[in-house]
């Protein structure tokens, strides 16, 4: 028999159910804590109930607006259109944040119809043509990524420091006889690679290849992350997790709302850096921005964001299709401004060129500004 809760609990449980339906993770423990908190606070006002809900249900600060909307919907009967929607929490946050930062319209309100369907077909068709060109790249990438020391220790026979804990246990186990001390050394893990793909109209001819490359990177390096930037910022990593390329590309096409739109690289990168967990992804990572760098309007945002990214990332690279031309020089105002922040400015005219560059990331290289100063016309690697 199910235990009967007091009728007074009903609105509080309603809130929990509504939150869960809208992608907030609320555990039974938290529900219990919420009811206990409400009891402790009286409650003497609706504000007390709201505070009890925030303290015990712990919504993320980025979703506080959605939380408040749902709270008002449950307790005041207000409309909650803005907060509803069955999308994945990750995707919603990315799109919401991007749209909010760039002053765009709310992405969840956008129509999804024929445009997406044709995009899926187009990507899937071109994918067949792409074939397995990147297969070799996928095989080589895991060994080619630069590595960093992780905290975990590995047992080892030959290299490393004496593992005192294991050595002592061995001594106790063998009653004082120890043939050789036990050794351990710090594990090494591949650095994360973060791909920021410009999908604006000026990159139209490269978009498919870039997404295909991102899929190959994600499949070969499980900690890799990928975002598209155009008029907004979209995290496409969840779509690229699918092993089947056609499915992954179709999912990506459906996820992104701003294919072939305008270019707002600076605001999109600012949006990326404004979400703490995205900025944290770039910390110590290899960040590759695939873009022509043709920023509409002023480039101050682009420059500031690249400087900040440069401070976070282990290595910041810009792969631009323009560099495929041997006469290319980084002379546009935007490229000249971001050049000091870049570790590499390389040929991004094809997925293969970017893939070849990624495979060289574990080799030390001079800063992009030095490269382009010394050998202006042959600098493109």
């Amino acid at each position: 028999m199910r235990p009967q809760l007091p009728r007074g609990c009903a609105p509080f449980l309603d809130l929990v159910h509504v939150l869960r339906r809208n992608g907030f993770a609320v555990s039974p423990d938290q529900t219990e804590g919420f009811l206990a908190a409400v009891t402790l606070l009286g409650p003497r006002s609706m504000e007390h109930i709201r505070r009890a809900a925030i303290a015990t249900l712990a919504p993320a600060i980025e979703r506080m607006d959605a939380f408040d909307t749902l709270f008002r919907a449950v307790f005041f009967g207000e409309a909650r259109a803005a907060a509803t929607g069955g999308e994945d929490e990750e995707e919603t946050v990315v799109k919401d944040r991007g749209a909010a930062e760039m002053g765009g319209e709310a992405p969840l309100q956008q129509e999804k119809g024929g445009a997406h369907a044709s995009e899926i077909e187009r990507l899937a068709a071109r994918d067949i043509a792409a074939g397995d060109r990147l297969k070799r790249f996928r095989d080589q990438l895991p060994d080619a990524l630069p590595r960093r020391r992780a905290f975990r220790r590995l047992r080892t026979r030959t290299r490393g420091a004496v593992d005192l804990r294991r050595t002592l246990r061995e001594i106790v186990r063998t009653d004082g006889d120890l043939a050789a001390p036990r050794l351990a050394r710090r594990q090494e893990i591949a650095r994360r690679i973060v791909l920021l793909l410009d999908i604006s109209g000026s990159m139209r001819t490269h978009t498919d290849e870039l997404v295909t490359l991102a899929h190959a990177v994600r499949q070969a390096a499980p900690r890799a992350e990928a975002f598209t930037i155009g008029t907004r910022l979209t995290r496409i990593t969840p779509a690229l997790r699918l092993r089947d390329r056609a499915q992954a590309l179709a999912r990506t096409a459906a996820l992104v709302d701003d294919w072939n739109g305008g270019t707002r690289i600076g605001p999109a990168l600012k949006a990326f850096l404004a979400v703490p967990r995205f900025a944290a992804l770039a910390r110590g990572a290899l960040v590759v921005l695939a873009s022509d760098g043709l920023e509409r309007g002023g480039h101050q945002d682009f420059e500031a964001a690249m400087r900040r990214l440069s401070g976070l990332a282990h290595r910041l690279s810009l792969a631009t299709p323009l560099a495929g031309d041997p006469r290319f020089r980084p002379e546009t105002a935007a490229l000249a401004a971001v050049l000091p922040a870049l570790d590499d400015l390389v040929d991004g005219s094809s997925a293969q060129a970017i893939a070849d560059f990624i495979l060289t990331l574990n080799r030390p290289a001079p800063k992009a500004s030095a490269v382009w100063k010394e050998t202006p016309h042959a600098a493109c690697r």
Binding site: D29, L41, R51, I61, F151, A280
Partner: protein, 293 residues
């Protein structure tokens, strides 16, 4: 320090806010409510917010109002069980084995155990406040390690069994939100986001923290800092920087610098990023003059 029962201190959110004020910490109502709930529900308190909003100070104030010792665990990338829970003194164990010869020896006795902050908080003779500072700097694996501690206030030591707290400590976690914490950790805690204070509260904090600062100066600093925080800076100034700025400007003014100039000359204690300084240089005189008006 004389310990006070949590139920006495936390009779209501208003009482908690009052106690905070006694400890020279100006807590707003939502923070007082969160602390009240954490104390009364016996759950850890997770404080998130931008750097410099007073998260660590809040934990210190809680220790003070409860009259308990504060044990602090500063997190960093790579922190692990040996730094947070306990460690065996292997060198001492090896020496003891050698000294003992054929005699029996318990190498897992207390004297070989090095207590780290989490274990110390459980075995402390009095109840304590445990501050786990900047948890977002640690690795995901470390968060998982904390789960047992935060749920049951116990630690399992394979060689000794489970160590439980007779009286669980008050655990306070802080995070600058440089990364998202695991849901499992969040749901074990009472949560509160500490935002930057409004100018009135910030002025009150400055007056509480900086003894020699005049009321008008504190109000001007609070207004100016509020305006500066609204600018797109790489490192927005925290409350402690605002207090230092008010102090520094007062010292310069007493040394002979007139008012707007004293603020401008002391800007180095408020803004600690070269690009931010360059960005604000042109605008600063107007911001200061508006704040003083």
């Amino acid at each position: 320090m004389r310990e006070k029962p949590a139920s006495d201190v936390a009779s209501s959110p208003e009482a908690v806010a009052e106690r905070f004020r006694d400890c020279r910490y100006i807590a707003d109502e939502p923070l007082a409510t969160a602390v009240f709930l954490a104390l009364r529900l016996g759950k850890p308190l997770l404080l998130e917010g931008m750097p410099g909003v007073g998260k660590t100070e809040a934990a210190k104030a809680v220790a003070k109002i409860l009259g308990r010792d504060l044990i602090r665990l500063q997190c960093y990338e790579g922190i692990d069980a040996q730094h947070a829970l306990y460690e065996w003194n292997y060198q001492r164990q090896l020496l003891a084995i050698r000294q003992a010869g054929d005699a029996d020896i318990d190498i897992y006795a207390d004297r070989f155990l090095i207590e780290r902050p989490l274990l110390r908080s459980l075995r402390h003779p009095q109840r304590t406040v445990l501050l786990i500072d900047e948890i977002d700097r640690s690795d995901h694996e470390f968060e998982a390690l904390l789960l047992e501690y935060l749920s049951d206030f116990q630690i399992s030591i394979p060689e000794r069994g489970t160590v439980e707290a007779a009286e669980p400590p008050v655990a306070i976690l802080t995070s600058n939100r440089t990364r998202e914490l695991a849901e499992a950790l969040r749901r074990r805690c009472v949560y509160h986001w500490i935002a930057y204070p409004d100018p009135e509260r910030e002025a009150a904090i400055i007056l509480t923290r900086a003894a020699g600062v005049a009321e008008a100066t504190a109000a001007a600093v609070a207004r100016a800092v509020g305006t500066i925080r609204a600018r797109p800076l790489a490192k927005p100034p925290g409350i402690s920087e605002a207090v230092e700025w008010a102090n520094a400007a007062t010292v310069l003014e007493k040394g002979g610098s007139p008012w707007p100039e004293a603020f401008r000359r002391a800007i180095g204690v408020l803004i600690k990023d070269e690009e931010d300084l360059a960005y604000l240089r042109a605008e600063l005189p107007r911001i200061v003059e508006d704040a003083l008006a």
